[in-house]
């Protein structure tokens, strides 16, 4: 198939899967087979696009003109390729995990769950391949809406409240700010295409640039920059597979991915550097990193702790881009991948603990490492990657980030990265310590349990190994990240 057909296939496979899933209601085995096959074929499709993009091609397709001058346009560039790869790689693993988790916990409405998941993946592919802001915005909103039924999956009062915060923040920021920023850009430039070097240079300056940047940064609520981060902890009422793939990978990465795209292809790094209008973002991102880490430190609920850790890690990407050095842009791209593998592992482990031991709190995890060795081994690897120590993927991106910060003599960024590394260690190491070295409390209502179902354990071993592998074999993501800043490897 030609690259363009493959791109279309990447969009349509999940949608087709959603349709088939709808038809296979009440046949669990068939339904899960469809999910697995769809996710694997999406992975094959996305991976077969990789050589094209690495070869320097930018396949594109224009589907239809929605209003005069504005088209539904898809174009695959390196950063989108990286994002698509990460999402497509983790979907099959997550499907495997979902099967174990949803069956293990006897969840209701499983067909709807898989359908919404497939639609969410299709829109994630759309975001990754969007060729203009308009297409990006459409897919961005579909992603929000298709994940709402997943967040509120349990259908109880807590789910309703979580769903309210989720939808309220994501929709109001995107309609109130993002849409306005897009329309303003259209009015100023007459185009919405992503172009190397940006489309806004010379069109906007001074305070207007700051306002436009503000509208974009806070319009993309999915990037969870404080104070619009509240939706992410709220989304934790969802079943763990949702928190894992969507709220550690697809949705949040769609946010920071959009931020990087807009900084690089709409504003252009040179324009931003020349105007000094982006300095405030560094401060806010730094503040978010530190504050979210401090909040994470105080959370006893494991998933909430992970959520706040995600908020902090997302701002790493924002910080890295707005250091405005080529090296730090590479770091931003790498961190999208590195954090994805590490954080999904952590969430998988949290879900595994919940399924096997019905425990959700950090304080209940004493000695659990001996009952669930595989799970906690994976958790340890994920946590090390979050802290940014070798030999994990997290080290790689942090390294580039620090190099970029030094290059630009951004002392503030350096300090933030160091401080947050310490904080990361402070909230992850106690968990690891408790799991391996503390004695489990005896008596009372302790449940005798072993490892989680095999599907779950298998899935989290895969993601943990990916976290390690990315450290040893970073060529492909590094190449993609390098061509993002226009360097030929």
């Amino acid at each position: 198939m030609s690259p363009v057909e493959l791109m279309l296939a990447a969009l349509l496979i999940p949608l087709l899967a959603a349709l088939l899933l709808g038809l296979s209601d009440k046949k669990p085995n068939l339904r899960e087979a469809v999910s697995l096959i769809a996710s694997l074929s999406l992975l094959a499709t996305v991976l077969s696009l990789l050589p094209t993009v690495l070869g320097g091609d930018r396949p594109f397709i224009t589907l239809l003109e929605i209003v005069p001058g504005i088209t539904l346009h898809f174009e695959l560039e390196p950063l989108g390729m990286l994002f698509a790869c990460v999402a497509a790689l983790l979907w099959p693993v997550n499907t495997l995990y979902s099967i174990g988790y949803m069956r293990g916990n006897k969840e209701q409405h499983q067909t709807r769950f898989y359908i919404c998941f497939a639609i969410a993946l299709s829109s994630t592919m759309g975001i990754a391949m969007a060729g203009n802001l308009f297409t990006l915005f459409i897919c961005y909103e579909i992603l929000t809406l298709s994940t709402y039924p997943l967040v509120t999956h349990k259908g109880n009062e807590a789910a309703k409240q979580g769903g309210r915060v989720y939808l309220g923040i994501l929709l109001s920021t995107s309609i109130g700010f993002f849409l306005l920023a897009i329309l303003w850009t259209w009015y100023l430039t007459g185009t919405l295409d992503f172009k190397a070097g940006g489309i806004l240079s010379g069109k906007v300056a001074g305070p207007e640039l700051i306002i436009l940047l503000f509208l974009f940064m806070y319009g993309i609520g999915k990037a969870a920059m404080m104070p619009v981060h509240r939706w992410l902890p709220a989304a934790m009422v969802a079943p763990t597979p949702v928190s894992a793939l969507l709220h550690a990978v697809a949705v949040v990465k769609a946010g920071v991915f959009s931020v990087v795209k807009i900084a690089v292809y709409i504003f252009g790094l040179d324009t931003l550097q020349a105007s000094a209008g982006a300095d405030w973002i560094l401060w806010i991102a730094g503040f978010t990193i530190i504050t979210a880490s401090i909040i994470a430190l105080q959370q006893d609920n494991l998933k909430r702790r992970l959520a706040y850790s995600t908020i902090s890690q997302l701002s790493y990407v924002i910080l890295a881009v707005f250091i405005l050095a080529p090296l730090s842009t590479v770091a931003a791209a790498l961190h999208i991948a590195a954090h994805a593998f590490g954080k999904i592992t952590l969430f998988f482990a949290a879900g595994s603990i919940y399924t096997a031991a019905h425990k959700t709190r950090v304080s209940e995890l004493n000695g659990i490492g001996y009952r669930m060795p595989w799970t906690m081994a994976a958790f340890t690897i994920g946590a090390i990657s979050m802290i940014g120590l070798p030999p994990t993927a997290g080290f790689l991106s942090k390294w580039y980030m620090l190099m970029g910060a030094f290059q630009q003599e951004q002392l503030f960024a350096v300090l933030v990265i160091i401080a947050s590394t310490l904080l990361n260690a402070a909230y992850f190491i106690p968990i690891i310590y408790a799991a391996w070295f503390k004695k489990a409390e005896q008596g009372g209502d302790t449940v005798i349990h072993g490892e989680a179902p095999k599907a779950i354990v298998f899935a989290l071993m895969i993601t943990a190994s990916l976290t390690l592998l990315l450290f040893f074999f970073p060529e492909v993501p590094l190449q993609l990240a390098n061509s993002l800043i226009g360097e030929r490897p």
């Binding site: 209003v67 109880n156 939808l167 009015y187």
Partner: protein, 495 residues
């Protein structure tokens, strides 16, 4: 032969059908005849739009009397679009009516109901088609009188008060309009709108012309329920039979907006309006209407009433474009005219399905129904998303042009109001969604055995729902026709 009389047939066919239907025995025949009439009118309206979409204008002389003495039907892209909206909604509503009317209106009134319905369609189509301002008044009265009758057929006793309230307000509006027309006739000596438009510029400074203009504006502001002259609308929409609410919400106010456009841009000309404070006044009323009515909508406990307040707010969006007086603004108005008909049509139909099963549209009685009526629920969700203006739906296209028009005017306040209005829409739409889905059905609920609405109700509803999605991607008909119309309304305006 027939083709040359198309413009007249669109109006005359339902007019002739009305007395015939009234004479038919109660049962299915009145419904069947009305459906056939509406479908043929819809087909004719489509042909008419295709004829004028290229930019030409049809002029039809009634009875062969040449204008300005005889009555002229003058069709351009603007009114062809409006006629299409009216006839399309009628064509979709009638299949829906079969079950819904059978459950809400006593059988002995069925043939009268369909006869009144035909008259209402005649009136609205007549307003759209005619090029004669007095003829327009006649059709206005036909549509108004028949809609008073239709609203009063509602099941609850409040329908009578609602209808009476509308009767009083509507009559005041129509009288104001007639006074205005009389004054214009006295000054210009003509009733043909094109002819009048040519004679008016010489009289621009005359006080009588200003008085006439004021009377017409207030009269029609009442008919289109522009805030704060909207108070008849929420009651009328809430207590009317579901079918009537669907039809009126999707068409009646749209036709009134069209008359505003016609009078302001074709008859008086925007250069006249700019000298008066009308355009600023419109903007202020629209902004106030959008914000206040959205807040009102949030606090309603009846889905129909909630949507009715939302309609008043949406009329604010449509009139914003008129207040801007720019090509982009008018495009936004016309596009929203079409799209709002689709979304409110779909929403009221879905609510009608709830009423069909539960007998009420009160929120507390509908709690938990989303799980028992998944298709109806999905229709409400998609219609609601279109109302909010989420990308991928027709509502988004409206929002796009509205905000663009406001940015072009550098009016940041209105940009903010439009966006805040969308966010308020999120709140009131989600209020319905949460009650339907998350609120558990009440203890010993009589509705526990309720199941999905019948296909005759679901299919028309979903036709409109799918249209909402389709017109979110393909805007050739909506934006294309609107731009064509704008060139005729605002000659010389650049796109």
């Amino acid at each position: 032969m027939i083709e040359s009389h198309l413009s007249l047939l669109i109006v005359v066919l339902p007019l002739l059908a009305a007395p015939i239907i009234a004479a038919l025995p109660n049962g299915r025949t009145p419904w069947l005849v009305s459906t056939l009439v509406c479908w043929s009118v819809f087909a004719m309206a489509c042909m008419q739009l295709i004829n004028v979409n290229t930019g030409n204008v049809i002029s039809y002389e009634l009875g062969g009397w040449a204008p300005p003495w005889g009555i002229e039907y003058r069709i351009d892209a603007t009114n062809a679009l409006v006629a299409l909206i009216v006839s399309a909604i009628a064509a979709v509503t009638l299949p829906y009516a079969l079950k819904s009317v059978a459950s809400e209106i006593p059988k002995k009134q069925h043939s009268l109901f369909y006869a009144a319905f035909m008259l209402c369609i005649t009136g609205l189509l007549g307003i759209a088609q005619t090029g004669d301002i007095f003829n327009l008044f006649v059709f206005l009265e036909i549509s108004s009188l028949s809609s008073y009758a239709l609203i009063s057929l509602g099941k609850q006793r409040q329908a009578l008060t609602a209808s009476y309230q509308y009767l009083i307000m509507g009559t005041i509006g129509a009288t104001f309009f007639l006074i205005g027309v009389g004054l214009l006739y006295a000054m210009t000596g003509t009733l043909n709108m094109m002819d009048m438009a040519q004679r008016l510029p010489a009289l621009y400074d005359h006080r009588t012309i200003h008085t006439a203009f004021a009377f017409i504006m207030v009269g029609f502001a009442l008919k289109l329920a522009l805030f704060p002259l909207h108070i008849w609308l929420p009651n009328a929409y809430t207590y009317a039979p579901s079918v009537v609410t669907v039809f009126l919400a999707a068409t009646a106010t749209k036709v009134a907006v069209y008359v505003m456009l016609r009078v302001i841009f074709s008859v008086f000309g925007f250069s006249f309006i700019e000298k008066t404070p009308t355009d600023e006044l419109f903007l202020i009323l629209c902004v106030a209407g959008i914000l206040m009515m959205s807040f009102y909508a949030i606090h309603q406990h009846d889905i129909k009433r909630l949507l009715a307040y939302s309609s008043v707010a949406q009329i604010g969006y449509m009139m914003l474009g008129v207040g801007f007086g720019s090509a982009l603004g008018l495009t936004a108005t016309l596009v929203h005219l079409f799209n709002h008909a689709l979304m409110k049509g779909a929403l009221f139909m879905a609510v009608g399905a709830l009423v069909y099963r539960v007998g009420s549209s009160r929120l507390e009685l509908c709690s938990g129904l989303g799980k028992q009526m998944p298709w109806t629920f999905a229709a409400i969700v998609i219609g609601g998303l279109s109302l909010i203006g989420v990308p991928g739906t027709a509502g988004f296209i409206s929002k796009w042009y509205l905000v663009l028009a406001a940015i072009e005017k550098q009016n940041w306040l209105i940009v903010a109001v439009i966006l805040v209005g969308s966010l308020l829409a999120v709140i009131y739409v989600w209020k319905i969604v949460e009650v339907l889905y998350f609120k558990p059905a009440e203890e010993n609920n009589v509705h526990s055995s309720v199941n999905e609405a019948p296909l005759m109700i679901l299919i028309p509803t979903w036709l409109l729902v799918l249209a909402n999605l389709y017109f979110g991607f393909d805007t050739d008909i909506t934006v294309g026709t609107a731009q064509q119309a704008v060139q005729l309304l605002l000659p010389g305006a650049s796109q």
